[in-house]
Symmetry: C4
Subunit: 252 residues, 4 copies
């Protein structure tokens, strides 16, 4: 079989498209943000990506039907501004380092075929401690982009993240550079202990300004409240377990 199978439902004609990636990672920040964007903008799925670099697994829906684990591509057509948006999200990242390279390279190829010249990758920045007001840290493929992003409220902090950016959110930048694609990674600060809708909201607030879209955050706020409820209960019951060092600083 092919290592990566791309099934196009539709091949959309896009105008100056901006690409947004949000896959599972620290605090699930990137995936939460991307999925919320898909919901809010009523984005349309146009492709499914299957791969032997993903786990050998199907997921079972409530109806009893199954679907093979995948990544998925969505698009939104817009007139004002006249720039369409492509969103990538999915169940998993590649299981192995070389699988991650293969997948990011293939995604980049698809993006370039769609005419994408700008990529935003979304992730969490694990702090290893609870955080009240998460900042959105950035990294980019050029100094011009860094300056531009500062104007949107993105924080660029020397030495953060010290261990670099691992996974698709990093690779799309690294491989994108080799093809002269402008790329920015937006990382919402998170404890890294829980799924973190608050960090996802912080990232999306910045991204919605960049994309010039309106996003309603009430769903994410509800989820954040539920998480807060659970964590506050846990705090009462038992002392917080220390996360392993590996969990921290990893960016999805």
């Amino acid at each position: 079989m092919e290592d990566i199978i791309v099934r196009f439902i539709e091949k959309p004609e896009l105008r100056r498209p901006i690409f947004v990636e949000g896959l599972p990672g620290v605090g699930n920040v990137g995936k939460l943000a991307a999925e919320h964007l898909v919901d809010q903008l009523k984005a349309k799925k146009f492709a499914e990506i299957y791969s032997k670099h993903f786990p050998p697994q199907v997921l079972v829906r409530d109806s009893g039907t199954v679907r093979l684990v995948s990544n998925e591509l969505y698009y939104i057509k817009r007139e004002e501004p006249l720039r369409d948006v492509v969103i990538l999200t999915g169940d998993y990242q590649g299981l192995t380092p070389d699988g991650q390279y293969e997948l990011s390279d293939k995604i980049l190829e698809i993006a370039r075929d769609l005419g994408v010249k700008e990529i935003f990758t979304l992730g969490g920045y694990g702090l290893g401690r609870m955080i009240e007001k998460p900042r959105v840290l950035g990294a980019a493929t050029s100094e011009e982009l860094v300056e531009k992003m500062k104007g949107f409220g993105v924080t660029f902090s020397k030495g953060e993240p010290g261990s670099g950016i691992v996974g698709a959110s990093g690779l799309l930048l690294g491989l994108g550079m080799l093809h002269d694609v402008d790329c920015v990674c937006l990382m919402g600060e998170t404890s890294g202990y829980f799924v973190d809708p608050k960090a996802a909201q912080a990232v999306l607030e910045v991204l919605s300004r960049i994309l010039d879209v309106k996003v309603d955050f009430s769903d994410l706020e509800d989820k954040a409240e539920q998480i807060d409820l659970i964590t506050s209960k846990l705090k009462e019951q038992e002392p917080q377990a220390e996360p392993s060092k590996e969990d921290l600083g990893y960016i999805g």
Copy 2:
């Protein structure tokens, strides 16, 4: 060498064949069921599958002769109903995730070449606790199939299995869907602590109704009694060890 070597002993002409898979997994339910079916229906081996995705190992027979670890394909020709049956069983599943994808893809290719349009995969559903009367849970590639299976006594339970279906029993469904093959996974509830002939029998009772075959279960009942004897002795001697979480919810 080829990654997967298929050695055909015979290339049977089959009529509207139904494909049944049962490989090692949780409680060895799938393999037990498939092997019992091979015995009961006097199925004929027609192909052996060798692969570098299996362990580098030969097994030694009581006669002192060896055989390379493999998967094996059997068939049964039937007049009433006029639908033949293909059964896949074997020593191992692929050792790596991508090996599992490669093997399931190859098996699906063989099945399609034989004219297969319906696949049943058999496995165990690990509960992590002893179970008196195992139900047979199902998952399928379409809602029509879900409804049809309910008629055969298969239980479809929202959120079960919550972690999806891993391994060949899942992949054949997931990859089968991409080729418009109708697939159902039948999972016998099992503790997951032991080889579980009782769960295999539960699965086969459902499958025999679906296939419209008569199966004598006395062999499986004998095996179940032996297991019961061992487990009841173990219970007397020492407190039951907790299974690792990884063992649970996994489906072969």
Copy 3:
């Protein structure tokens, strides 16, 4: 680079050659036996095998010069009986299961090109306890070979080795069968705790009768005495550590 690099020093013309394999494994029995045979028969090296399936490592000789880890092929020409012998030994087996398949398949290809129709693989059979008089257990590709081997003092014992034969000593049999090569595995019983020259001698005593060669065992006996000395000292000093279950029953 090629996955496996075979460098021929010479391409010998061999007469009805018998192939003998002895690579590292349990008790290092196979490698000790094969190396002793090379020494005793003054076998001539004719090929070196390098591979990315081996560790990324060079070994340093006493002279300060290095050599890349490898497997090596030797031959012996004989008039009486008119059957030449090929011996394979080396530093390592493949690091991964699929690497082991690739290497055994390549070695089999070389053997078949040399006209080999009979293969003997040598290894240890780990008992997990000290053994005074090691037996030589066997496994073979046909019942005729089993009977023939019994005549040379090889023991065929129902259920031993229960977990099969892992690694090159097993794979050469398993893959050899697919090419109709007659193969026998000879396994010297060993504790599996130490390098075991005594088990290697037991294996070679049987093999020398099969090959009809004279072998002087004084070197192996010296090594065995040294090991005995060390182990008896260890016994005095501290209670014997339990080997992990994984170490037992593995055959090189």
Copy 4:
């Protein structure tokens, strides 16, 4: 994507070039030495190597811009002596054994295309104990080279390193031999507990005599003092942790 991507910034014409490798490893000795040489000789970067055998990671510069993890090639043109120098350093070695083989093979191909006939690989020799005056141990591809290196103060010590040389520093020698390239590995003795600029200096002192270049060591001496300060503080605070055996004897 290609497994290894080589991006040439420039294709220099070099005169009888000598190749020097220094990648991360024990005590980071090789990388420290190679980077110091690049700085001191104002070597010019002419190629970048990206690979799916490296971690899927970008590093973030203080400016907020990113770069994909890589290995890098530098050159120095010299009139006196009329021998140019190529230096390889980088962020990582290959993650897997076969990735290391692939990378070393590719690097060797590049070196040979540049006309390289002599390679020096730099690394640390982990002792597992603190060392006051590190020696520089050697290994080479011929006895002539061993003798020549002794004249430059390199120590060749029987049985050291007993476990051979692992990684690029070993593989370049092992694979280089297959192409008749003269190769020497220089290993600075180090505890293996810390990044070790002192061992890097010892290696560079020898190498600078071989290459006939002048190197100022004040930067490395400053770094060594900082490390000494940290380690002496650690000694006061707590007993030194035992390094795992795996950390010792490994050569980058």
